[in-house]
Symmetry: D2
Subunit: 369 residues, 4 copies
C-alpha cells in the first residue's frame, strides 16, 4: 500500500501518520519519500484488516491510498505506469545523459578497472569515438581472492574524474561500503552497486540517503530472483533516492560453458513489473569477448534501455577480466546497431504495430475456414 | 579423431579398419557413417598413444585422419567449418524448407497438442498465412502427471498429415519411444526429441538409424550442458543420420518468475562449436505469452536459424500450456521482423562489416593519443 | 481423488465407472490397479465441480472416495499412511530382501558396470562378505558420449544372474528402453530406471505393466523436483506395479566441487509425503570415493531405507566412474555402522522418544520463568 | 605461497620483504599476520617464475616458504594439517566454549531475532536447559524487503548481553556493516557474517582487523562455491583474525520444496580442504521445522563441529522465520543424540576403525577367488 500524503501537510498531521503507520505495521522507521514532487509513504499492508486500512485512509494527512499487490511498492508499475527516465551527470563537468523513458539505448563502456592515467584517458577517448555515452571504470574492485588486484581506490576515482573532464562523458563506478558512498558520489555521476552487494542493505540505504542523490546502477545478484532484485531497488527508493537503474548481468547456473547465464527474458519481464530503466551487462554475463557483441545486440531487441560493456584497447594486457573485454573497434558497430535495433524493441514495437496494421488479422484468417 | 575412409574402400579393408578401431578403443560397435558422400568413422582418441594413432593412419582403408579436440566429433566445426543446411519435407506432400546454412530464419508454429481436426486445420492455415514455414503439433505428449492429457496418439499423426496436405507445410512432432520412430517418420517430416528425452540413448540411436532418414529436432535437456547437448546430437549423427537441428528451450533455474531461463547466449556459443543449425523455442523457455514475441525477435539477432512457437487461435481454450501460446495475429509480426532482424545476426554481420567499413577504426583512435 | 472400487464389482459396473471417469476427466485410458487386494482408480479431480464428485461417489461400483490434495495420488501418504515394505528377489535363485517398512537399512553394492565374469563374481562375493544384501551392476550403461563404454548388454545380464546364483544376492540393474523391460526382468530382481530416464514415460509405463511385476528402483532426475519424482513413480504405480523404491542420487548445481549435490533433506521430506521406501546413492551424488562412506552414514540417520554404492575391488582399474568406487573393505564398516545408526533415524526415533521421556520438558522450562 | 618470517625479524628486514612482495605481486597492501605465534605472509604465486620464488626464499627476513596449490592459502590444510579449535567467549561474562578440534559437537541455539526482554531471557534459559552451549539471536536482521521487521538494533545487543549474563552462555549475533563491527564485538562473543554478506569484502576485512579479535562465524553465500567460501574466510584471516568458523546453511536450487538445499557433502569436503571448524544451520537450510531435527542429526554424522538452530518457545508467534523454528523440547533430544552420534563422524571414525579391525578384509576376500 502507498499513502499519498496531502500536498501541504502540517508537521502535526505528518507525525500522526507516522505514528499510526508505526502502530499498525510494527515497523518504527518508515518515512515518507519525495517522488516527482509528491510525498508518499509505502508500507506492507498484506496483513492489514479492513479496520487498519480505513483508519489510514481517514487520516487528515493522507490524500489517497494506492493498493499495491506486489511486495515491492514504489518501484512497481502499479505505482507509476509510465517508464522512468533518469538523468546521469550534470552540466558542470560532463554532458548529461538520460537513461530510460523513451530514449534510445545508452551505451556505457570502459575498462573493468582503472589501471593507470594513460589507460583510462585513452580508453575514455576511444569509447567516446566509438559511440559510448557514459564511461565505466572500477576504482574499488570486489575480488573473489584477497590476493587479486583490488583496484586503485581513491586514486582511481581521481583518474576517472580526469577522464570525465577530458571527454565530457559522465562516469559510473562501483561503491562497496556505506562509508565511501559520499566520497564516490563526489567523483562519479552514477554509483554502481555490484552483484555481490545487491542485498547489502546498509549499502543500499546509504545510496538512498546520500546528499547528492546520484543515481544508482543496481546489478542483479548472482542468484537473485526478479522479486529480490526489485525489493533491493525498493530499499534505495524507500530511503529517499528514486533514481535507480537495474542491470541484468547473468545468473549462476550449472553450466560452465559461459561465465554466467544471461537471463535476457528478465528484460521484458522487468519492463512489465517496474517503471525503472533496465540495462544489460553482456560482458560479465557471457565472460567471453566473442559472444559480447551478439548478446549486446540481442539485449536491445529485448527492450534493454542500454548496455554496459567492458572495453580495453589491448584486452590481452587487462589487469582483470581480460577474456571478456572487447575493443573500441567492436564497440563502434554495436553502438551503430543499437540505434537501428531500438525500433524492434517492445518499447517502440507496440505503437508502430497499431499504426501499420489496422486490418484485423485474426478475422481474416478465420474467414479462410 | 575422425577417420576419413578411402572412397572405394574394399570390404576387406573396411573390416580391417573396424577390427583395429574395436581393438584400440575397446568399443566393439562403432561403424562408419556416410556424411556428404564421405565414409567417416569417429572415435575417442583421447587416451591413444602415438603408436595407436600412426597404426590407424597407416591402414590401407584410411585416407586421412582429422584430429578433433572436443568430446563430440562429427557435429564439431573442427570436422566441418561451413554451416549445415538441412532440408525438411519432400515435394510429394509439402513444400520443402531449408533450415540453417545461409537461409533466412525458419518459423515453426502450431499448437502445443493436436486436439481435434478443426483445431489443427484452422491453426495450420492461420500460421501459414501469418508466415510460418513448418507446422508443429504434438500427437504423443510427455506430461509430468499420468492424469494429464497425453495427446491423441496415432490419430494426432493422421490429423497432422491431413493439415500438411491442406497447407503444404512440412510438419514436426515429438517421438517418445524407439518403437514409434518409424511410425512417426511415416507421418511427419521432422522428428522432435523432447527435452526430457535428450539423453534417452536408445531413442537417439533409433532416430539415427531410421529408414527414412527424417531430420531430427533435438531439444536441449532441462539442465543439460552445451557439451551434453552436442554429445546427444553426436549419438544421432554417429548412428547414421547427419540431419540434426538443435533447439534451445530454456534451462531450469532457481527463479520461478519465468517457466525456465532462456539461455540465449547458447546460440552464438553453439554457432562457434557446431555446424548444425540451432533454433529457439521462446514458448517453453518463457512460459508466458506476453514475453514470447520479444524473445523470438531477440533470438534471431542472437543468430538463431529459426524459432518454434506455440500458436493457438483461442489460447484460453488450449488443452495444454495455454498461458504460453500466442495468436496467429502476433505471429505475423514476429515473422515479418524475423526477416528484417536476420541481417543483424552474427551470420550476416561479419561479412557486411568488412564490406562497409574498410577503414581501420582502432588505428584512428590510437592516433588521438 | 482415488475411487475405491467395490470388492466384487461386476464387469458392467466396472465399465460404467470407466466410462464415467473417462467422461469427466477427458482422459480415456485410466484403468483400475490392484493395490494390496483392493481395486482402486486414481484421477485428477482438481477441476471437478460438486456434481462430478457426487456422481462418481454414487456409482454402484464405487465403494468410497478418498480425496487426495497432491498431484500424485497412489504414492501419497494420504492414500496409505503406513510405510510400504517391498520384497526384492524370490526364493528360487536368491534370498529375498525387504526394503522399507520397519526393516533395517538395505545395503546395495556392486560395480558401476559388469565388466567381466571374474570381476562380477569376485565383487559379488566381496560385497556379500562385507554385508551387502543386494548386488548392483550395469549391463546397459547410459553414457554421455557415444564413444564411451556402453556396457556388455545381454551378456552382462547373464553374468549378473550367474553372480546371483553364486552368492544368493538378489540383483538390480538398469533398463533403458521399453522393449528390453521383459528381458531385463527375466535376469534381474529389481529394475533400475536411471536419472536420465526419470521422465521417460513409455519406459515408466512398461515397468508398470511388465508381466513379472519386478519392483522398480526409480532414480531422481538430475534436476527433478520432489513433486516430479513422485509423479514419475505415480506413472509406474498407476500402470499396475505398486512396488517402487525411490532413490536420491544428487542433483545438479552450480558448484563443481562435487559431481552433484546430495539433497539429503529429500529423505525426511519424501518420508512425509509418500509411503514408498527411499534410498540414497552416495556414489553418484558425491562422485568422490573419500566422501562416500561419510555420506552413506549420514543417509541412514536422515531416514534412508538403504544405500546403493559402487564398489570395485580395484577402483583404479574400473571401466567407468573409477573415482567414486569404494572398496569392499570400506563397505564393511559402512554396513556395520548402518545397523547402529538406524536407531537414530526418524523412523525409530519417534517411538523411542515417547518411551524414554514421559516428563514434559517444555512445562519444566516454563516454570523457570 | 606462504612466507614464514624469521621469529625475531628486524623492522628493516620486514620492510624489505614487504617491498619485494609488493614488487613481484603488484599488490601493495599485503601484510604479515600472526598465526599461533608465527608471522606469516600469504600471497598468490601462481604466476611467479623461478627467479621470483628464489628471490623471496633468499630474503634475510624469510625463514621458509610453504607452497600452497589452492587459491586460498592460510585456511588451507596445506598450511596447517591439524584441525583448528576456536574458543568462543571469555571468563568474564560467560563460560567459554571451544568449537572444532577434537571437541564434541557444539549446539548453538536461540531465536531468529531478539524480540523482547522476556522472549530472549526465557529462550536463553530454555535452550541452556535443553543442552545448548551458545545463544544465538539477531539484533540487526537482513530482510529481503524494507517493509519487514529489521531487528531491534542496539537494544537487541543489550538484551542479548543480559541473557548472556543470566545464563552464562556465550552469544552469537549478525553484523551487517563495517562501521558496526566494533560495537557488536563489544556485546557479543561470536560475530556472524550472514549468507548475503559472504562476499562483502569491506565487512570481511573489518571483522579481520577488529580490536577484540572476536571469532567470526562465516555463513556460506546462497550460491557460493566451496572455493569462494574458503576465499571469503581467507579475507578475514589474511586481515589478521585466524578465528573463523564456517557454516553451511543451504544453497539455492530449482526446487522450492525446501527453502534451500542443504549441501551436507560440503562438510566432509571442507574437512578435507581446510583446518577451520565447520558447522551446519539446518533451520535456514530446510526452512521447515519438521525436517530440522533429522538434518541436525545427519549433520553431526557428516562431521559437522556443531549446529546452529532456531529455537522459539512459541514458534507460531515468532516475528520472523516462524515456520522453521523448533521448540526447546525438540532441541533437547537433538543435543543428546549429537553426543552419541559424534562417534560415527569421520573425525573419530578413522582411528577407531584401525583399533577394532586389524585383520585385512581385502586380502581375506581376494583369497576367495
Amino acid at each position: 500500500m502507498i499513502l499519498n500524503l496531502r500536498p501541504h501537510i502540517t508537521e502535526e498531521e505528518r507525525d500522526q501518520v507516522l505514528a499510526q503507520v508505526s502502530h499498525v505495521t510494527g515497523h518504527p522507521s518508515l518515512l515518507p519519500v519525495e517522488i516527482e514532487g509528491r510525498q508518499v509513504l509505502a508500507l506492507d499492508a498484506s496483513h492489514f484488516d479492513w479496520e487498519a486500512r480505513s483508519m489510514l485512509a481517514g487520516l487528515p494527512g493522507v490524500e489517497s491510498i494506492i493498493p499495491i499487490p506486489t511486495p515491492y511498492k514504489l518501484v512497481s508499475r502499479h505505482f507509476k505506469a509510465e517508464r522512468s527516465a533518469i538523468v546521469v551527470g550534470n552540466g558542470a563537468y560532463c554532458n548529461p545523459v538520460t537513461i530510460g523513458g523513451t530514449e534510445l539505448p545508452t551505451i556505457i563502456a570502459g575498462p573493468c578497472a582503472v589501471e593507470s592515467r594513460g589507460q583510462i584517458l585513452l580508453t575514455a577517448s576511444a569509447v567516446k569515438s566509438a559511440g559510448a555515452h557514459i564511461l565505466r571504470g572500477g576504482a574499488y574492485k570486489p575480488r573473489t581472492s584477497p590476493y587479486q588486484f583490488q583496484g586503485l581506490g581513491i586514486e582511481g576515482l581521481w583518474l576517472l574524474a580526469e577522464a570525465r573532464e577530458a571527454t565530457g562523458l559522465p562516469t559510473v563506478t562501483e561503491v562497496m561500503e556505506p562509508e565511501l558512498v559520499e566520497t564516490v558520489a563526489q567523483y562519479a555521476d552514477l554509483l554502481q552497486i555490484g552483484a555481490r552487494n545487491m542485498q547489502n542493505y546498509p549499502l543500499l540505504r546509504a545510496c538512498g540517503q546520500q546528499r547528492q542523490k546520484r543515481p544508482v546502477l543496481l546489478k542483479r545478484g548472482l542468484s537473485a530472483t526478479i522479486t529480490e532484485l526489485l525489493l533491493a531497488a525498493e530499499y534505495i527508493v524507500a530511503s529517499g533516492n528514486p533514481n535507480v537503474i537495474l542491470c541484468e548481468r547473468g545468473i549462476r547456473s550449472y553450466d560452465t560453458a559461459t561465465r554466467n547465464v544471461l537471463d535476457l527474458t528478465a528484460i521484458p519481464l522487468l519492463n512489465e513489473l517496474t517503471h525503472l530503466p533496465v540495462i544489460v551487462d553482456p560482458s560479465h554475463a557471457t565472460g567471453k569477448s566473442s559472444l559480447v557483441p551478439t548478446m549486446a545486440r540481442a539485449s536491445i531487441v529485448a527492450g534493454s534501455n542500454g548496455i554496459i560493456v567492458e572495453v580495453h584497447c589491448d584486452p590481452d594486457q587487462a589487469l582483470c577480466d581480460a577474456q571478456q573485454a572487447i575493443t573500441p573497434y567492436q564497440l563502434r558497430y554495436i553502438a551503430q546497431d543499437a540505434i537501428n535495433l531500438a525500433r524492434f524493441s517492445p518499447h517502440t514495437r507496440e505503437s508502430e504495430r497499431l499504426k501499420t496494421d489496422p486490418e484485423p488479422v485474426q478475422a481474416h484468417l478465420l474467414s479462410k475456414r
